[in-house]
Amino acid sequence: MERVSARDDAAFEALYDAYHRLVFGIGLRMLGDPALAEDVTQTVFLKLWTAPQAFRGGSFVAWVSRVTRNCALDVLRSRAARPESEIPADLALDGALEDEIFVRLDAQRLRDALSTLPTEQRSLIEQGFFAGVTHTELARRTDTPLGTVKTRIRSGLHRLRLALGEQVSG
């Protein structure tokens, strides 16, 4: 990213090669439309190019994922009038495991860790992450009491964290 900040287009191209699948994939999962996912990919990488200082350290994967989710969320917001959820800001947290997890984590390991969750937890977490809806909308869509949604998501995230730890240390 330092080279991108220095306006090095070759470094930017390498960044694109490394992460466009992830960015496009998130856009596609959230929007369900390849053309819109392309637009989101374009928007995210142009933001990366024009405002690289927005990345303030920490896990680049986590950061670019949040940027992508926000871009896709903007598209969702423009499509329908409904309560809007808020993607957390790009916090670089002291002592977070994100660096060590992300360095050693890949899509397959993530899927393996997800598969260890009870279906009802995994389903809510995946839908919640990619749908760009609020918890109340998620409860409505899944016909699940709101309190149950909250409990399952919190329990599921804790369980997933443990599973990820085992994946990267195993």
């Binding site: 374009q42 977070a96 899509a107 995946e126 909250k150």
Partner: protein
């Protein structure tokens, strides 16, 4: 709901925030909670990185034609924009916890405003506005701490009440009146600017009565936002109202009320 279950409810909110499921006003409340509570901070730190990892499940092959097309479009824009190489741009990395606390201040300012203009702090934040709101809040908090009117527990109680699904909400043009248990809050975000030498004053009428009793006075922040808890027992109040009054308040309303809202 007792204290422990209140905390559990708030920690569940933290998990929802980490996953990106909260509407912006609730997200602002949770950020403030995180900034003021070490356990919540630790919970958020753990769960947000876990939630972030979920993005990797979307990392799947993209067909080569699409990849090439996207790359061509993008690089054409980039190369047209790329200057001569060699000029390093400056960048700064803010201390993480400091940022969070700053965001907490901002978010808490949002609590006091229960805003409708929440922003993504990372990309779209208006720093000038953010700093102004944070400054306003710092001033409000300093006043509260000096007067002993608001403690950390009070803040947690307020946050819990404002986001609670079992709170009763009454819309008014300027925001919302929120009632939970025996507590009454005004969460107002569209208050007109006050004339010099004037304040807003809350009024309450007991159930079955039309006589307005004077309650506290308050001044919104420069954006026209304020959240206040009325010093009344909600079970005994039938109507609440707000009017503009001279500094120091009045014994009876002297202007047309900004709003009058029956709590039924």
């Amino acid at each position: 709901m007792n204290g422990d279950s209140n905390r559990e409810a708030m920690l569940e909110q933290v998990a929802l925030y980490a996953l990106g499921l909260l509407p912006r006003e609730e997200a602002a409340l949770v950020i403030a909670f995180i900034a003021n509570d070490d356990e919540a901070y630790a919970e958020y730190r753990d769960l947000s990185s876990t939630a972030d990892a979920l993005a990797l499940s979307a990392d799947e092959p993209v067909d080569s034609a699409r990849t090439a097309r996207m790359k061509e479009r993008l690089m054409a824009r980039v190369r047209a924009d790329a200057p001569a190489r060699g000029t390093l741009a400056t960048r700064s990395i803010a201390p993480a916890r400091g940022w969070l606390l700053g965001a907490g201040l901002l978010a808490a300012a949002l609590i006091f405003s229960l805003i409708t203009v929440g922003q993504n702090l990372s990309l779209r934040g208006d720093l000038t506005t953010a700093q102004r709101r944070a400054s306003t809040l710092q001033s409000q908090l300093a006043q509260s701490e000096r007067s002993g009117a608001r403690t950390r527990n009070d803040l947690t109680q307020t946050l819990t009440d404002l986001v609670s699904p079992d709170a009763r909400r009454y819309d008014v043009a300027e925001g919302t009146v929120i009632v939970r248990s025996n507590r009454v809050y005004f969460a107002l975000s569209k208050l007109p600017a006050l004339p010099r030498g004037h304040v807003y004053q809350a009024w309450t009428a007991a159930k079955g009565s039309s006589a307005m009793q004077p309650s506290l006075t308050f001044t919104p922040n420069p954006d026209g936002v304020a959240v206040v808890q009325l010093p009344v027992d909600a079970d005994k109040v039938g109507v609440v109202a707000v009017s503009v009054e001279p500094d120091g308040g009045s014994k009876t309303p002297t202007t047309t009320p900004t709003f009058v809202r029956p709590l039924s």
